[in-house]
Symmetry: C2
Subunit: 329 residues, 2 copies
């Protein structure tokens, strides 16, 4: 394997000089740079990222932490977009990505998690979809031992950034649109996880709408479960209701229940997943571009790794209607 040593020999310079050129340090003359770069070309040299990671604690090894909480095909789609978005951008920024699932961290103490990450020379993390209850992750962020970007969790400090879309506003918007299109004055809201950050925000949004418009509002906890949404709809949905759901999957469950009950009332969802096209009925939903969110998260993490300060980033969303033709491939 061709190493930096071979490049140095070929270029007739010292190893350290090659390293400097490669990493764009100052104090290297143009002439020397040229020699080195030429040698790199000739030898087809590519630096060993493992050695680099060992040597400088800086070299970008990054963990992607996914919450596989409910495994379902709907979530699969979202997670795949997270993963491909993350890895794609990471390659562009020369970061190595290790994918980790929350299940691998279960029953681990903070100490063990830190040790595991350190043993992998990981210096940065991107955490997707973490819940309020996850004590270990919270303490991990608090400890400020790693640069962290959270997605959909408002946790910011000196070395951690947070990326999200304004869930409350989005929920408000999509429900309001559905309402206006259908002339109702009563809402059944099927919420997500009790302890989820996004769920809480979405509830705020729907409450604001109800207040502003003077609507009656019935909130039930659907745990992001299609089955539960179905059951809750059977139990609580009245003819007057517009059913607003905290996720597309729940919206599909609700819609199916309504169809079984021969009640034809509007339902709206949240996420913009493909499955919505198969729901049998066109619905409003909030489309989040998960790939872009992931890509932004990586970009932000890179900024943190380069010494940037933690901050919040709010991304935009889009209201769409999804039907079969749109999702057909």
């Amino acid at each position: 394997m061709v190493s930096i040593k071979d490049v140095a020999k070929q270029a007739g310079v010292a190893i350290s000089t090659v390293s400097k050129v490669l990493n764009g340090y100052p104090n290297v003359s143009e002439e020397t740079k040229k020699k080195v770069n030429q040698a790199v070309e000739e030898l087809n040299f590519m630096p060993n990222t493992v050695a680099a990671a060992l040597s400088s604690k800086q070299s970008g090894r990054v963990a992607l932490l996914l919450n596989l909480g409910n495994v379902s095909q709907a979530v699969d789609e979202i997670n795949m977009q997270y993963i491909s978005g993350t890895i794609g951008r990471a390659v562009e920024l020369n970061l190595d990505v290790i994918t980790i699932f929350d299940s691998m961290l279960k029953n681990k103490s903070l100490d063990e998690v830190v040790r595991y990450l350190r043993s992998q020379s990981i210096t940065g993390l991107i955490i997707f979809g973490m819940s309020k209850e996850d004590k270990v992750l919270h303490r991990l962020i608090d400890a400020q031992l790693f640069k962290i970007v959270t997605v959909d969790a408002p946790l910011v400090n000196a070395v951690s950034s947070a990326i999200w879309i304004d869930q409350a506003a989005a929920q408000y918007d999509v429900a309001r649109k559905t309402l206006k299109e259908n002339e109702g004055n009563s809402i059944l809201y099927l919420a997500g996880k009790k302890n989820g950050y996004v769920s809480g925000e979405r509830i705020k949004g729907i409450k604001r709408l109800a207040e502003e418009e003077g609507l009656s509002l019935l909130v039930r906890n659907g745990e992001f479960s299609e089955r539960l949404a179905r059951e809750l709809t059977f139990r609580y949905a009245k003819k007057k209701h517009i059913v607003v759901c905290a996720s597309d999957l729940m919206a599909i469950g609700a819609m199916r229940a309504l169809m079984d009950m021969d009640i034809f009332r509007p339902v709206c969802g949240f996420d913009g997943i493909t499955l919505m096209g198969y729901a049998g009925q066109q619905m409003n939903t909030v489309k989040q571009d998960f790939g872009r969110i992931a890509s932004e998260a990586v970009t932000e993490l890179k900024r943190l790794l380069d010494g940037g300060e933690g901050r919040q980033i709010v991304l935009d969303y889009e209201l769409v209607q999804m039907k079969y033709d749109d999702v057909l491939i």
Copy 2:
């Protein structure tokens, strides 16, 4: 960070001795082992995998190569199962996993790919869903520079194993079952990719069935596309046909087309993805356990890395009918 050096000091032995204990080498007395293990406990030591990888070219860094060819939510489900299956098992076997998408390898020469893998200290690969046309990957396997496990591609040599299910038999079985349940004598077969290994095998299976049963068989290429399956069904499906599809997604497209045409004929699919539950009609399909396949692939790769010889492994499958209740979460 606590290193092997600290452990050595704590245990009152040499660094090399600690390493030997950790890696289970012989020529270490029980007493010394005990001392070392105790020190490891006390210091909460965890070896730095990066340093290990650098030092011994053996230390298990493994790449997971995914073909994202058609991105669709159906494939997302499959890929997520591949990914989680791979990573889950890899953790158990102490392997690091780097996830790579085929798109990252596009337009790269064999040399570049090899260099990239080497620069990452990757010694083993698992390749999911590769096509016959992929010259670079074929040459990569031929070169025998890396231990490789292919899934659904019959490429075996001294250092590469292949894992698959018997696609021909599975296609034969599921079509035969559907046929027997419905008393037809004519098949419209919507095939997958022209150059896919699995597609070819499945065609063999359906041909054998047609021969054995004396059925008329019309084969059309559906490219694993739901849209194309839909169009082909509109164009070619006759009342007498049973429509056999090389994937669930195509089966859904075909089923929808039939419904639009008010022809009610059986359709069968292949894969066993969740989306089948939303098709509106219960269908036969072949259920492949992708998570298990991935897990077996990792196990096999580990065997190769430990010096095992390349071989073939054939996994089993299951015929199922999928309906909404089964997929509801």
